[in-house]
């Protein structure tokens, strides 16, 4: 899983793709040092020196809180916003100045933006007709697309006469029909209810697999990003903080922001010295030392589900404050002797019992490799 999800750089060419003048064949999108400043009453730096390469046939996700620049990056790739600085490459060609109607890139808009005066089938036809394909071929592709998104029965309906989930599928079919090199999806599932969203997540993965098209998917939902993506770029305030597989992002977040944004986290103050950290409550533990962090005060991430209640005398001493039962697991909120809060998540066994009571003294341990040193 890990290996497949990493940036595919061909073995013959060890230089990073962003710097090669002859880009590796597997790279679809190569954004180099892109900045975007909106000049209005006050300047907004929506993208700040963003560099990212996206492999062909990859399910790539831009993840970040609202307003961090995800849509702006998509719009730069689609060609709706010219970048203030930087260049954009598609399949080894500089497309920075190419207008949107000449980029082999299609978008599934957040609001779907279906043409209200056309039927479902005519919406799907539109791009094919604009490309000037022969009518017979268009009919075939439209038919195929209607089947692909299971909308055959609704093909002559107006887009105002179908449900939100169906509109979503039509928008998808319309963008897939011209067989773009890259499909851009801007929070396509955010308007759907939970059940439909889960279904569409699986559907989208299936479509991406079947069509072999590169997907660039935008979401602010970390769970969605983790379940769907080959790789994720976590964004904040116009910058990309970390790019990696879901496992890398979750287990080895590079920064506190990333750790905080994805999953639940405990942060503990510690002192780094060599390959070990010492907590304020005492206790020294081996860690994997990140390259760009100096010895001294650091922050250490411990995921609640990686912490365990332990009887080992070397584990961290703490007091139980609250116990919260939530079905498949129980969260135990504790306070270390140093005063820091620490949450432990214990999976519920069929005959679970023996959980500590409020006020009880406990010791908290963790498996080797559970600690991640963060740069702040």
């Amino acid at each position: 899983m890990e290996a497949q999800a990493q940036v595919p750089v061909s073995d013959a060419d060890p230089t990073p793709p962003a710097d090669t003048s002859d880009p590796a064949a597997e790279i679809a999108i190569d954004a180099r040092r892109i900045s975007k400043v909106y000049r209005g009453e006050d300047e907004v730096r929506a993208l700040d020196n963003v560099s990212v390469t996206i492999a062909r046939n990859e399910f790539f996700t831009l993840l970040g809180p609202s307003g961090c620049g995800k849509t702006t990056l998509l719009r730069v790739i689609a060609g709706f916003e010219p970048p203030t600085a930087g260049t954009l490459w598609l399949n080894g060609k500089d497309i920075t100045r190419l207008p949107p109607n000449r980029r082999p890139v299609n978008t599934v808009f957040q609001s779907y933006a279906l043409f209200p005066h056309m039927s479902v089938a005519n919406n799907i036809r539109f791009g094919l007709e604009m490309l000037g394909k022969p009518k017979k071929q268009i009919d075939e592709i439209v038919d195929e697309m209607l089947n692909l998104v299971q909308m055959q029965a609704m093909k002559s309906r107006r887009t105002s006469e179908i449900s939100g989930g169906q509109q979503q599928r039509v928008a998808l079919a319309r963008a897939l029909a011209p067989e773009p090199e890259v499909l851009l999806l801007d929070e396509p599932l955010s308007a759907l209810d939970l059940k439909l969203r889960k279904e569409m997540q699986i559907e989208l993965k299936r479509l991406q697999h079947e069509t072999g098209i590169t997907f660039v998917f935008v979401t602010h939902d970390q769970e969605e990003a983790l379940t769907m993506s080959d790789r994720i770029a976590v964004m904040s305030a116009g910058r990309i903080l970390q790019i990696g597989s879901p496992q890398e992002i979750y287990q080895r977040p590079a920064e506190r922001f990333v750790a905080n944004f994805i999953g639940e986290s405990n942060f503990l103050d510690a002192t780094l010295s060599g390959n070990a950290v010492t907590f304020r409550t005492g206790g020294t533990y081996e860690v994997e030392r990140p390259a760009d962090v100096e010895d001294g005060a650091v922050s250490v991430l411990l995921r609640p589900e990686h912490a365990i209640l332990s009887s080992d005398p070397s584990a961290l001493p703490a007091t139980v404050e609250t116990v919260v039962y939530s079905g498949e697991a129980t969260s135990i909120h504790t306070r270390l002797d140093s005063g820091e809060a620490l949450k432990v998540r214990v999976p519920n066994a069929p005959h679970s019992g023996g959980l500590p009571e409020q006020g009880a003294p406990v010791r908290i341990g963790f498996a080797p490799g559970a600690l991640t040193v963060l740069k702040d």
């Binding site: 949107p100 109607n101 808009f109 933006a113 005066h117 539109f126 791009g127 604009m130």
Partner: protein, 308 residues
């Protein structure tokens, strides 16, 4: 088992009461409609079947002369029937000038409406305001101002002669051109405003979707923009075409005594012509023409929408 029946009866009763209340409430509206529209219309129809009075007004004698004299007239000398050429010329001029004016206001109005609705939100009101400023002035005054522009010693001729493009003043006053020019100027806002309302509602994301799907500017315009703002264009066309057909002031001032339009012809019958029945018949005919034109226009435009 009685219960559902009772419920049904209650419901029927409620519906009945509802209908009656609604009727009661619409009585004032119905009275106004009768007094303001149906009543005068009835008077008009009755008058058109009477005989002209000796000096003006009508004599209460039934006659179909007014209606027949719209199309044919008796020669005063040899008593043969002839086509009423003058009337036909005036019909033709009215219809063709109204169509031309509608097309011209559309040609100027669409870009204007587009321009206004693409201004930043706070600035649009200013441009709309500018559009309406001329209508604060009396129509007659505005028409006379146009006369100042296009008459033989008017601004346009003087400038063209001064620059050396022409040697002698062009005859623009008292031509069909003058009428078309004046009506286009006067009715332009009536075209711009409904189109502006339609363009403003247009979702820019639909345009982006268009370009995203490889459309050229031309195709974005014909395949998406035009169909979506069509209701505005239809409304604007009706608002311009209908008053053009009955226009009175502009053709009177700029067309002079020779280039009459429908409105002037009607006015003539109630004034110097002293033929009220013919005036009434012409008015009624104008209304019927407008109605047929509107029905036809709406039919073809909604037909296209079904095909699209």
């Amino acid at each position: 088992m009685d219960l559902p029946e009772d419920a049904g009866q209650l419901e029927a009763e409620a519906v009945r009461r509802d209908t009656r209340d609604r009727w009661l409430m619409s009585v004032p509206a119905l009275m106004i409609i009768f007094l303001a529209a149906a009543g005068p219309l009835l008077v008009m129809v009755i008058y058109s079947f009477l005989t002209p009075g000796d000096y003006s007004g009508v004599k209460w004698e039934f006659s179909t002369n007014a209606w027949s004299s719209i199309l044919v007239q008796r020669d005063i000398f040899d008593d043969t029937l002839q086509w009423a050429d003058a009337h036909l010329t005036i019909f033709w001029r009215s219809v063709s000038l109204s169509i031309i004016t509608t097309v011209l206001t559309l040609a100027f109005g669409l870009p204007t409406a587009w321009f206004i609705s693409t201004r930043p939100p706070g600035k649009r009101e200013f441009w709309l305001f500018l559009m309406t400023v001329p209508s604060w002035t009396n129509l007659l005054v505005r028409t006379i101002a146009i006369q100042e522009l296009i008459r033989a010693e008017g601004v346009i001729n003087n400038v063209l002669i001064f620059v050396g493009i022409i040697d002698e003043p062009m005859q623009m006053m008292f031509t069909n051109f003058a009428i078309g020019f004046g009506m286009t100027y006067v009715y332009l806002p009536l075209m711009v405003l409904p189109i502006y309302a339609a363009v403003e509602k247009l979702d820019v994301r639909l345009l982006e979707a268009c370009y995203d799907l490889y459309a050229s500017r031309w195709h974005a315009f014909t395949r998406v923009i035009l169909p979506l703002i069509k209701p505005g264009i239809i409304a604007g066309s009706i608002l311009v075409f209908v008053p053009c057909l009955g226009a009175y002031v502009v053709p009177r001032v700029l067309g002079g005594g020779k280039n009459l339009m429908f409105g002037n012809l009607i006015e003539l019958q109630f004034g110097a012509g002293r033929n009220w029945p013919l005036g009434a018949a012409l008015s009624f005919l104008l209304m019927v023409i407008v109605m047929i034109a509107l029905i036809y226009y709406i039919r073809i435009t909604s037909q296209e929408r079904k095909d699209g």
